[in-house]
């Protein structure tokens, strides 16, 4: 007997929302992350990047918004992916809960550092 692959009864809970969110954020990251990598790594290159380049880029509000979106979506996507991978290796639920908290704190702290820098901008003395 052939079972239909798509089951219509998926409960709406944290994991099912996270599952969907990984797919939609992933699709959004195609233009965001690929655009960023194409411009900065391939076309400009690290030898032409310095603090003045960052200052010039962030002088345009649009690029700051772009970088802010990239920080939000790429990092959240990556951190949730890390949580999913770790979950495959840790069967102890109590331990997994602790690791999840640790990952959450890591995400909040690093996101906050990055967001502060994007909002605060370049400080050339």
């Amino acid at each position: 007997m052939e079972q239909p692959i798509d089951s219509p009864q998926v409960p709406v809970n944290y994991e099912s929302v996270a599952w969907k969110w990984m797919r939609y954020s992933g699709l959004l990251l195609i233009p965001l992350a690929w655009g960023h990598v194409l411009i900065q790594d391939v076309l400009v290159g690290v030898h032409r990047i310095d603090i003045n380049y960052v200052a010039l880029r962030w002088a345009t509000l649009g690029w700051r918004i772009y970088d802010f979106l990239l920080l939000s979506f790429a990092f959240a996507h990556g951190v949730n992916g890390l949580r999913q991978v770790v979950h495959d290796f840790i069967k102890d639920e109590k331990l997994m809960r602790r690791i999840s908290w640790l990952i959450l704190v890591l995400w909040i702290v690093i996101s906050a550092i990055g967001a502060t820098a994007i909002v605060g901008g370049v400080r050339i003395d």
Binding site: A33, V46, D92, G121
Partner: protein, 136 residues
């Protein structure tokens, strides 16, 4: 610890061919990109917190090993994106494509598309590496 061993054994011994390989590659490229992303958020943040340190970070990125790593990073981002698009499309709209034969074909296509997109980027980055670090 034993469950970790079982999982690693499962990942390496499971013989799912294309679908299995591309699953492992998706995870490796994802974790690799995340590792770089964490470092990259922190080093870029120095422009606000410690502006004088930013040039040191950039100097490290300009070294030959890091520029070679950057070429693989770009492969990871491209591959993870192409395969992620496949996963999203199949999961959200084309669930029947997860059946083994079409899954294998699509896995091969995914790798081919990722390589075709990566090669010109890799060539440009390799040219920049040779020009800047070896005066070629």
């Amino acid at each position: 610890m034993r469950s970790i061993q079982t999982t690693i054994m499962g990942f390496s011994r499971y013989r799912g061919r294309e679908g299995h390989w591309i699953f492992v590659l998706h995870r490796l490229t994802g974790l690799g990109t995340l590792l770089f992303l964490i470092i990259h958020i922190l080093d870029t943040s120095t422009v606000y917190f410690f502006p004088s340190l930013y040039s040191h970070a950039i100097e490290i990125y300009r070294s030959t090993p890091f520029m070679i790593g950057e070429i693989f990073l770009v492969f990871s981002v491209i591959f993870h994106g192409v395969n992620g698009t496949r996963i999203a499309l199949f999961d959200l709209y084309l669930t029947s494509r997860w059946k083994t034969p079409s899954q294998r074909t699509s896995a091969r296509w995914t790798l081919a598309i990722a390589l075709i997109l990566w090669l010109p980027a890799a060539a440009l980055m390799a040219r920049s590496l040779l020009a800047n670090n070896f005066n070629l």
